[in-house]
């Protein structure tokens, strides 16, 4: 059985001064200190890609930097799902006995280490090199296409269908130190913000951030340890033209994780759901069964995803407001759920949180990974 024994999350934002290795090392040191382990104790090192680094061997690079000489080293790339995929792999290494102290790290100077234009162009390469990239679509445009189809199918406009999700994430971030954007916003603010790719406005889109996140995975069971009760994945397509808009993979992935954990989704107390755009969050919430089809925005407006709602989601503010530094952005949800399950979330603590679910997607709703977590005292 594998546990999250330490977690580290830096502030996110436009924070010049560190390169990708610097952010990774900062997050890694936070997680190691939190777990009470030293670099020489780490025998498994898994590191996510960084677009500003573009290195073939991210784990070896960071290992050398930190003085870690692991038995197992692995770089990983499944887009926004990379963080949770690395944690799933870490749990497997621990369960198999291949390693016992696995450090999972991501970090990048995505905001200050390159121009927005270069970042947008790099990310657009998730499109098909021959059939999609020449059309000139960007990642915001791919997600805008998903939003267009979603709003059309359900007869919604962006004000009702999407904007309340951005408002809810910002309300969470207002309570979270380290979040990139903490000023509350309204539905009017969202729909009045600059159009980025119709029907998405600027506040429907996550920012590009600098930052890092890391966790330490190993055998555990002490009071602060959080059990990785189950993980699941689904990878059904890469490109938007081959996606099934009613079965992207989230339901399958979460079902596999919940089954492995022996938990029903109704038993989960706190959620971390990938939210690169408001439409991402709407589609995932609905495919996971946390909102009815076409009703994610309405549920957000009703407070369902708030701290005191029935299904608290992204109590750190998510990618939309805490920020998005790449692989580390998707791991911030995980770190936040770990803090919630330890009861260390301060004034944003979800009362009695014993079980959590974290879900991430990469590409254009392409790669899906879910992790179910529980406290050492959590019910099976």
């Amino acid at each position: 059985m594998a546990w999250i024994r330490g977690a580290g999350l830096t502030a996110f934002g436009r924070l010049p001064g560190r390169d990708a290795s610097g952010w990774q090392a900062t997050a890694a040191r936070l997680a190691m200190a939190d777990a009470g382990v030293r670099p020489q104790d780490v025998d498994g090192l898994i590191v996510g890609y960084a677009t500003t680094l573009d290195h073939l061997m991210p784990a070896n690079l960071l290992g050398e930097y930190l003085g870690i000489t692991p038995r197992v080293a692995l770089g990983a790339a499944v887009g926004g799902a990379t963080g949770l995929a690395m944690v799933a792999q870490a749990a497997s290494l621990v369960d198999s006995g291949a390693a016992s102290t696995v450090l999972v790290v991501a970090g990048e100077d995505r905001a200050s280490g390159q121009s927005t234009q270069v970042s947008t162009s790099t990310l657009a390469q998730v499109g098909h090199r021959r059939y999609e990239v020449p059309i000139g679509a960007t990642v915001p445009q791919y997600y805008a296409l998903l939003a267009s189809a979603y709003l059309h199918e359900h007869g919604l406009d962006p004000r009702d269908g999407l904007a309340p999700l951005a408002v809810a994430m910002r309300a969470h971030a207002a309570r979270r130190d380290g979040a990139q954007f903490r000023e509350p916003v309204t539905v009017d603010d969202v729909v009045a913000s600059r159009p980025v790719a119709a029907p998405l406005h600027l506040l429907d889109c996550c920012p590009i951030s600098d930052g890092g996140a890391a966790v330490l995975v190993g055998p555990g069971g002490s009071a602060r340890d959080v059990e990785i009760a189950g993980t699941g994945q689904a990878h059904l397509h890469q490109h938007i033209s081959e996606a099934d808009p009613h079965e992207f993979g989230a339901r399958l992935s979460a079902g596999r994780a919940l089954t492995a954990a022996g938990v029903e989704i109704d038993d989960v107390d706190v959620f971390g759901i990938y939210d690169s755009f408001t439409i991402t969050l709407a589609l995932l919430l609905e495919e996971l069964g946390l909102a009815r089809p076409g009703r994610a925005g309405a549920a957000a407006a009703d407070g369902c995803f708030d701290l005191d709602g029935p299904t608290p989601v992204n109590t750190h503010g998510g990618l939309l407001s805490y920020g998005h530094c790449g692989v580390g952005g998707g791991m911030a949800h995980l770190v936040e759920v770990v803090l919630q399950l330890r009861g260390e979330a301060g004034d944003r603590q979800v009362g009695g949180a014993a079980q959590g679910l974290v879900h991430a997607d990469g590409g254009v709703m392409s790669a899906h990974v879910t992790a179910v977590l529980r406290t050492s005292g959590g019910a099976a």
Partner: protein, 106 residues
């Protein structure tokens, strides 16, 4: 069979001889069963499933009548549900003309 990505202004729809599955993104065998591939030129009729407009113009996802989904540029007035026909346009400096969808004239 060459298509627009090779400079021939047409969309080629692939199909499987064994299972009948159809797809757009070029492959050497059927992604569903591994069977051999046949090809046909799309007649260019379809219906819009999604549209967006960004800094670099309007883009649509279109379901062609042959049963595959294609990304292309489009007339910015198109909306989901609109019947469209396929044409090809190249912006200045682009090596090949890319799929461009216009409303079907009735």
């Amino acid at each position: 069979m060459n298509d627009w990505t090779d400079g021939e202004p047409r969309v080629v729809v692939s199909g499987c001889d064994d299972c009948g599955h159809r797809w757009y993104l070029r492959r050497e065998c059927c992604p569903r069963c591994g069977g051999p591939v046949n090809e046909r030129i799309s007649e260019g009729g379809g219906r819009v499933t999604a549209t967006t407009v960004g800094d670099r113009g309007a883009i649509a996802l279109v379901d062609l009548s042959e049963g595959v989904r294609v990304l292309g540029r489009c007339d910015p007035t198109l909306r989901p549900g609109t019947a469209v026909r396929l044409t090809f346009h190249a912006e200045a400096g682009e090596p090949v003309a890319v799929p461009y969808f216009e409303a079907e004239s009735t």
